[in-house]
Point group: C4
Chain length 289, copies 4
């Protein structure tokens, strides 16, 4: 029986430990949680710094070796951190499948795949996405609110932009095909995919100039296309502007929120109740971490 | 008499056949119609895939031959399909002159013209326009509605954009002429049409860089032109934004629609009546196919 | 006395003649006025056509001579037309100083200056501005109204855009100076004016690529500048959009106009009174010709 | 005692002198203040003119020497002016730390640092910022009001634009890293910082073309990136448009202001009271000089 009790106690202790680690790793309200997140941020920034330095061609072999070892150490820490996060989560799958879980996985993927050679290594740049946590850690409310507002506007216009993109890509394919037909293979329009690449460069008004029409017919067709693209570029701007306007209207209409503790009316932008000082939920970013 | 009856029966059978084929070819509400459209879409995508592969320079003669034969087979099918569509239409001319009829004709034109050699072949890229059917087949209501809304906004601003384009082209011609005068023939401004092409590349902010001013006067004039173009690019965006805003206002004002079956009020975005489940017309794309 | 009467009659006849010619040259409501304007348009288009052909490098000397003579004939006609316009105007100075008078003068300036040699000849391209008459001749009411509406929006935002341009040019000068300092003379940043030209090319997102930063510091500074320009490009669009929105609001508020003949209420967009069919003034372009 | 009185009188005289000089240097309402500011503007413009001329490569040593001496004289005057401004200010630190104080300091910094050799000299271009005074001197009320209105709109959207820039830079870093991985070092994507520079050039649609993808995978990735950038460019425009709209609404709502002298109602845009002719404060730029 004592053995069983010990087992139970152990189990309880483990649960308490998991809970504590969870609060440190996933929350930022406790001082320890904040410290952990700051440490993590610092390590991510340092890891990105190593990555960028490593990419410079003029690096002595010794420095390269030092950075190589440092990167291995950081990568092993990140893998451990990921496994620990899964271990302490009450619902591990929920974490793994969340946006943050996927970003965390992608960040360590090059290590997991032992693809620590060649240029695949640079896929680690995706780690920068983990820096979005910065909004959460520093609780810069004005920023998170604006980020959330931007996010809402974009979500509201996602269908319109998808439809728009469908037609832009279609236009790029048609124009690419026609330019390939008109210009022939001498001008750098070597194949249809190449021409579609050129068409996208042109419609988006980037205009690298690595491929340009040489024949008169090609230049005429390109001119029509550029004027068309000129009018077309107005469309996504119009879409987003209107949604932002509606979002802004909505925000100023919502106006009021009730404090759940004392029932006092507060501005929807309030972070603390102006009567009882209770922390209000609406002041925080609603994106789950 | 029996002969006449047979004739009449034949006529009737033919009419019934035409009606059935029509419903398969032009409608997507029946399972057969949907299957037909999916098959057609697959063939169009395959045809485009062939076209793009054919354009690659590094293709073995055997592969090229195989693709050549496949393309011929697909083209003959598309020609047959076009003729059948005309045959089964109750009002053939209406189909031929509709937007879809013209796209279908353009898609098979290279074959009809027996222009199956040289680079005219690549005009087949226009077949991609037939993919717009995708909206119709999958009945992605949200998308068709957004497409329709975008379409309305653009139609409403078409006059303003036409006037704007008139002045932009005029500005490009004047600027092209002046640059030709200032730069002379040494800098790549070989003729006025060439200079107008350059002016369009510049005003639309594409900026390939294949032709650039070399003299000081040319650079000064180009600078003025770019600053002008910078302010001008705001115009189409303004036009489209305002129309989209009005369109959006209109949509949210319409607000309600009555179910034609049970007279219940429904949201204008509803696809089925919320009282009797009757399919509402407004939820569909109003563009005729 | 008879002599005096003759003189008076002559005077009167001349006045009547001047009035008639005036109505032909300046008005488009009479069939003769319309015919005159159409002929003029045709001659301007032909003159522009000659100008463009003349600029092509691959032209035989004979063709060049023919075009040279044709251009001389047209130019003399235009000079004659300009003088006649002054002669028949009741207030000649008003015509000369009007927008149209200045455009007409600029169109014949190269001839007047006998600068019919060299490349100054291409300044004739400015003649294209006379094509704006097309709106007046064809009385395409929808277009003139839209042109007028665009014009109003731009006029309303002219102060804001001027202030904006002041700051953009200032930014371009500062950035040009800094890039010249950072890049040195090896990279194509040969002088400050050259660098300012580059800065304008970059801020306006044209990006020819004829001059590009080569040093790391230069690339970093250019990156900051491009991101700045990215945010800045939003400003003129915002200005114009808001003015267009206000203009549009104004137009839909004005709503009604009274027919000056029968006092019936008409939409502000009406061209003819819906009660008596009287032509309404508001349907026409208010810009004086 | 007479000595003390003299001292006191001297002190008073000095105070009066300081006050007078202050009003000349810092204010523009007196004729002398206006003259001083005009002289200063002229000297700044002349100094910028020298700077630009000096940067031209084709300059004879004699001219260069003359300009060198002139620049030294102007610089000493500007240093003297800065010291005098500090001396006559009632609260010197307030001036030194104000926006104008910092600009004035930056303008003379190259001289103070005795860095009057090499290319650091061109940092003097920052002097152009002092030209903003032009709004104050000429009291072009319409312009200052528009500048103020633009300024307000930008301030109101500064958080949203900061958040947007955070994500754009993040996207540029990720895309730069991926392109470096995909393209390898042969295509000009020499290092990650170089690739990030390319990504910024591409996302902002500048598109110099000094570095372009050469591999198929690189072109595909670049295409995705350009289409993404195409949608993204809509965001700052949307942000600024909405804020400008709100600003404009606010301005037209404010509508009225009371004259502090006679209590008469005036338009908020009025510069003088329409009853008593009293100068109204609101008509001036609220930015402190």
């Amino acid at each position: 029986m004592s053995k069983e009790t010990t087992k139970l106690q152990k189990e309880e202790a483990r649960e308490a430990f998991k809970k504590k680690v969870y609060s440190i790793m996933f929350e930022t309200s406790t001082p320890q949680g904040k410290k952990f997140d700051l440490l993590l941020l610092a390590m991510i920034v340092f890891s990105l710094f190593i990555l960028i330095i490593e990419s410079l061609p003029s690096l002595s072999p010794t420095t390269r070796l030092v950075f190589y070892i440092l990167e291995w150490i950081l990568s092993i820490i990140f893998v451990g951190e990921y496994l620990l996060r899964i271990y302490v989560s009450p619902k591990p799958m929920q974490y793994v499948l969340s946006a943050w879980g996927i970003i965390d996985l992608l960040s360590i993927l090059p290590v997991l795949l032992l693809a620590f050679t060649d240029s695949v290594i640079y896929f680690r740049i995706i780690r920068i996405l983990r820096l979005i946590r910065i909004f959460r850690i520093f609780r810069i409310n004005q920023f998170t609110r604006e980020a959330y507002s931007l996010y809402n506007s974009l979500i509201a216009s996602v269908y319109k932009i998808a439809v728009f993109m469908f037609f832009v890509v279609m236009l790029a394919i048609i124009m690419g095909g026609l330019m390939f037909m008109v210009e022939g293979k001498e001008s750098g329009f070597d194949s249809i995919p190449e021409s579609i690449y050129w068409a996208i460069v042109t419609i988006t008004t980037v205009g690298f100039g690595d491929i340009t029409p040489l024949t008169d017919a090609g230049k005429a067709l390109a001119s029509v296309m550029m004027l068309l693209g000129y009018a077309i570029i107005a469309v996504p701007t119009g879409i987003v502007s209107v949604e932002m306007f509606k979002q802004r209207e909505l925000e100023s209409k919502q106006g009021k929120q009730k404090c759940p503790q004392c029932d006092a009316e507060n501005s929807s932008k309030a972070v603390y109740c102006n009567q009882c000082g209770n922390k209000l939920v609406s002041g925080e970013l609603k994106v789950k971490s």
